[in-house]
Subunit: 212 residues, 2 copies
DNA sequence: GCAATAAATGAATGACCATTCATTCATGGG
DNA sequence: CCCATGAATGAATGGTCATTCATTTATTGC
């Protein structure tokens, strides 16, 4: 009855409550899987009452969609901050920053990646999931291909295919994330990082070095 | 009442029924997602009655596990046939065969890949799923690393790291599959294949060529 | 043919879970 | 200080679904 945190009921504005619930949903998906989340689990994890999620999100489906959107947009924002920054970075710096970002703690955090792959696993049968996942990706594809093209130009390389290298990098990072997430003993995060770095160093030797 | 295929009830031995049901489960997971499969959907898809799945598999959970195992083992068998064949292939031939196999129609079939990634999406929260996925993978890791090491030796390359290249190849293929599966317009299968080939050609120029 | 056996059926059961809504309770304006 | 507002609660509701099992139907040995 008199839980410390509960004494202040109400108190919080809509947006704060929604984010609380989304964060709780992320933890629940990571812990129980997408097919194991229930409204009771989510609201319990948030320390709130059963009805609250429907109050703010209308339905479980909407809650899940907004959770996916939250995780997706967070990644896209961080990535765009690097790719769009026309103030500072050289081509080499941007490429290095992209790599560091993809293996930074904020991105490789287990819970977030678990959510990402949980939804991807259902994306084929749920057009809405697919649309949310694909939307930002298509834009990022082009930006990364453009960055790679610039690097090839700077290196005087006229044979390599920037678009192909970009798809490869994106897929490689996805695969490394997935393998490290599912079994970090088989693919430690450090090794995943080195693998991605090796890919870039091999394609752009003048921009990315192998070591460090 | 008198459906053509139904006149012969019973008729079929246990093993045939089980595989029928597993195949139906594969199609249902691909169509409805792992969280959307119900016993009614699966048995309906197989053209049989509700109770049949529990009769042969004891529970829904067991049916799903055996389905995952079926898909996993089919892939592992095809892959081992290549990696273990000590009768014929040279290092270069094995590498080429591995690549062709990974993008052969039997492997890239949508339904099977959809099942694979559906389970991977839940693998973190379900130790049993993870164990089934990891079991064969660990063995394959070593075999591919050994193959790559042989190629490096043949090329006189003493600097490259075969284990790192192997993890990279495996992750790249996973990522390419996933991207092509989720949105084939963004990453057509042909392009995915070329990307994987490019990876190998770049690491083993004396064994794999870029074109064809 | 005729039990005896085993496979298959699908209506009935019970568990679980999303959603609802009458009620409770903080908050802030008057 | 008190009422009006709307956030928050959680017991109750209804729907979905896995599982069971009494019954039906094919098969096999005699």
């Amino acid at each position: 009855m008199t839980r410390t945190a509960k004494n202040t009921r109400r108190a919080l504005p809509k947006e704060v409550r929604k984010e609380q619930l989304i964060q709780a949903t992320v933890r629940c998906i990571a812990k129980h899987g997408l097919s194991g989340v229930t409204m009771a689990l989510v609201t319990g994890e948030a320390g709130l009452s059963m009805g609250i999620a429907n109050l703010h999100f209308k339905s479980k489906d909407k809650l899940l969609l907004e959770t996916l959107q939250f995780v997706t947009e967070e990644y896209a924002q961080g990535q765009n901050a690097i790719l769009d920054s026309d103030t500072v970075a050289s081509t080499a710096d941007k490429m290095a920053a992209l790599l560091e970002f993809d293996f930074s703690p904020g991105v490789t955090e287990k819970n977030k990646l678990a959510v990402w792959f949980a939804f991807l696993g259902e994306a084929r049968s749920r057009p809405t999931y697919r649309r949310i996942c694909s939307r930002q990706d298509a834009k990022a594809d082009e930006k990364i291909a453009a960055l790679f093209q610039r690097a090839l130009d700077e290196a005087g390389d006229k044979k390599a295919d920037a678009a192909l290298l970009a798809s490869g990098y994106i897929a490689l990072v996805d695969g490394l994330w997935l393998n490290s997430l599912v079994d970090p003993r088989r693919l430690p995060w450090k090794k995943a990082y080195r693998s991605a770095r090796h890919y870039l160093a091999s394609a752009f030797p003048q921009h990315i070095s192998l070591d460090q």
